[in-house]
Subunit: 202 residues, 2 copies
């Protein structure tokens, strides 16, 4: 299995380079379980979902704590048929496909309930894509049903779903959406936007 | 059919609101063929692909012309089973699924050859997702083969493909990738990032 993300931070300030560089420190506790490469558009982070999502959460929370309007954008993927297996991605976090949807939903809700707050608000918007064989819309509808019970659900929009709340439960909700829906051997992706300190909300 | 995008501009400057507001003027020539709604995270633009992509191109080029480091991010979708048909999205731009891949590739290349330059460089990165029945990887591999001949191909990365060049042919390449691959009745999405004036490139 291969899993990871292409992630970018967009601080809407003249001091954007400083915000980005200082936020990257938040990845330090996770670095030994990830592979990280940066170019001028995004940073590739390869690793298992149970490390990826907390790492993204901490990166976001550090950037948000500057008080600047900053957006984290990430393209997340697991099981892309075009990517090679990678030992660093080995994970036990993906759901058993033989389990019915409602059991997976309950496990996802239990995981969120155990998640601590980070002290930063996260306004998130994301799309979950499930590729390949099988009934991808049943998995997506099952995921949306879970999201509505998650405590972080804000509203459905065209093409995506909005979540809002503390960064802890919001990123935990995203992790559960990524891991519990769609087959473990399948290709699942998330197109994610998380916004902090937007002046449009003030 | 329902098609459209959730799009955001991220200008990395204290004057981000001014850059966004002045760039929106670039949508004016297209507005009568689109439906546009904005919230604090993104702007929804609903319409057919042959209007959507030129509109995004003009929005990007206007923002890039400020000289600021600015990123356009868009989630594009056509044929999502969860969205209602909308007359404003009616289009003849989608490929005939009975046509073999190589003919669709040739049509895509011809369309790019006819595209005028915009005078702004676009460094783009995108993922194309084809959902539902059928051999989605064959369509994606056929698309990648086209991209390599497009004249805008930069390189493959994990989870995505980079394009670079003038905004005219770059957005034309994206439009062709969206329209010529995957069935017309299928659900096709693009996760798109386009970066202007990055200091990492200077």
């Amino acid at each position: 299995m291969f899993a990871g993300t292409q992630v970018s931070l967009y601080p809407m300030t003249d001091g954007f380079v400083d915000v980005i560089m200082s936020s990257l420190d938040a990845l330090d506790p996770w670095r030994d379980r990830l592979r990280i490469e940066t170019d001028d558009i995004s940073t590739l982070i390869v690793g298992p979902p149970e490390v990826l999502f907390p790492a993204l959460r901490d990166l976001y929370a550090k950037a948000a704590s500057t008080g600047q309007h900053v957006v984290l954008r990430a393209t997340l993927s697991r099981g892309c048929p075009g990517e090679p297996d990678d030992p660093i991605c080995q994970t036990a976090a993906l759901a058993n496909p033989k389990e019915p949807l409602d059991q997976r939903q309950q496990q996802a809700l239990a995981a969120i309930a155990e998640t601590a707050d980070k002290g930063q608000i996260a306004d998130a918007q994301f799309s979950l894509y499930v590729m390949g064989a099988g009934d991808h819309m049943a998995e997506i509808m099952g995921c949306i049903d879970f999201l509505k019970q998650s405590g972080t659900f804000d509203r459905s929009k065209n093409f995506c779903t909005r979540l809002t709340g503390d960064a802890g439960p919001v990123f935990a909700t995203l992790q559960q959406a990524f891991c519990q829906f769609g087959p473990p051997a399948g290709h699942v992706t998330i197109d994610l936007t998380v916004s902090a300190n937007s002046p449009s909300k003030r």
